[in-house]
Symmetry: C2
Subunit: 143 residues, 2 copies
DNA sequence: GTAATTGCAAATCATTTGCTTCGTA
DNA sequence: TACGAAGCAAATGATTTGCAATTAC
C-alpha cells in the first residue's frame, strides 16, 4: 500500500478484495479517513462533516475493526480513553501531543528508529514489526 | 528522581512531600511497583502477591492517579484496554509487544530518540517533554 | 480533632456482542 | 437469492465520581 492509495476509489477496490461491500457507511468512513490529516476516534469519524449519513456507532466500530484486521487502517493508542485510527496508506507518522489540551501534532521528521526497527526484527524474530512513537509534553498555550 | 528512589522508604518520603498519608494500600501499591520489572495495570497491582491487603479498585485507582499527577508514576498507553503504570524512578524503557499473546518485553537498548527529543523540545516550546516508543509485532511463538 | 482515605455503590464511556432486518453483489 | 452489513439493544470492562464511615498525623 502506497501513497496513491490515499483516494477513495483505490481504497474501495482494496476493500472489495477483502470481501467488503460498498455501502454508504463504508464510503463515508473512508472519506473521513482520507480527508483528515490526524488520527481520529470512532466517534470523530461518525461526527465528521465528511460522514454524510447517520449511522449506529456499532456499524462504524465493525467497519473500522475490519479495516484494521486487514491492515488498511492502523490503530494508535495515544493516552486518551478512545483509540485513534488512521490510514496505513499515509506515510508513517510520529506525534507530538499536549498533555494539557490534548492537541495532536503530526511531526514532520524523518522517522528516527527505522534502522533500529530492522535490528530488533532480526534479533527478536518478530514478524510484521511496526512501531509507535509519541512525544508528550505541555504546549506553550498550556504553559 | 533517580535510580536510588527505587525503594519503598525513599518513595514514601516523596509521597509524604506530596501530602499523601502512609496507608497500607499506599505501601502495598509502592511495593508492587518497585518489585515488578514490567508496567502493570491497576488490576494487576491489586492482584499481585506483593499487594498484601484486600482493597477496593477505586482505592488503587485514586492512589495511582495521584502518583501519576505528582510524577512519581508514569502512565503508559499500550494497546490493551487497561492502562499500564510504572515508576518514573526506573530508567526510561522502550518496549517490544506481541500483538498475538500480548507479551511485553522491555528493550535493553540505548534510547534512540534522546537527541531528537531535545530538538523537538527546543523547536516546539513544549515543556516536560517525554516520549513513548513501542514496537509491535508477532513473536515467534505466535508465528 | 481534622483532613485525607476507604469502601461501596452508582454513573460514565468506549467498546463489544447478539440478533433480526436490510441491501449489495 | 444469499450472505455480508446495519440497526437496536443489551453486556462488558475499565475507569470515575459521590458520599458516608474511617484513620493517619
Amino acid at each position: 500500500m502506497a501513497k496513491d492509495d490515499l483516494n477513495i476509489s483505490s481504497l474501495l477496490s482494496t476493500c472489495r478484495e477483502i470481501g467488503m461491500r460498498k455501502t454508504k457507511a463504508l464510503v463515508s468512513t473512508l472519506r473521513v479517513l482520507v480527508s483528515t490529516e490526524q488520527p481520529v476516534t470512532l466517534q470523530q469519524i461518525a461526527e465528521s462533516p465528511d460522514f454524510d449519513i447517520s449511522c449506529d456507532p456499532a456499524t462504524v466500530y465493525r467497519l473500522v475493526t475490519k479495516l484494521v484486521e486487514n491492515r488498511v487502517v492502523r490503530r494508535i493508542g495515544f493516552h486518551s480513553r478512545a483509540a485513534h485510527y488512521c490510514l496505513r496508506a499515509r506515510y508513517h507518522q510520529d506525534y507530538l501531543i499536549c498533555r494539557g489540551c490534548g492537541s495532536v501534532e503530526v511531526l514532520e521528521i524523518a522517522c528516527p528508529v527505522e534502522h533500529l526497527e530492522a535490528q530488533i526484527a532480526k534479533d527478536s524474530g518478530f514478524a510484521d514489526l511496526e512501531h509507535e512513537l509519541e512525544f508528550y509534553g505541555r504546549c506553550t498555550a498550556c504553559n
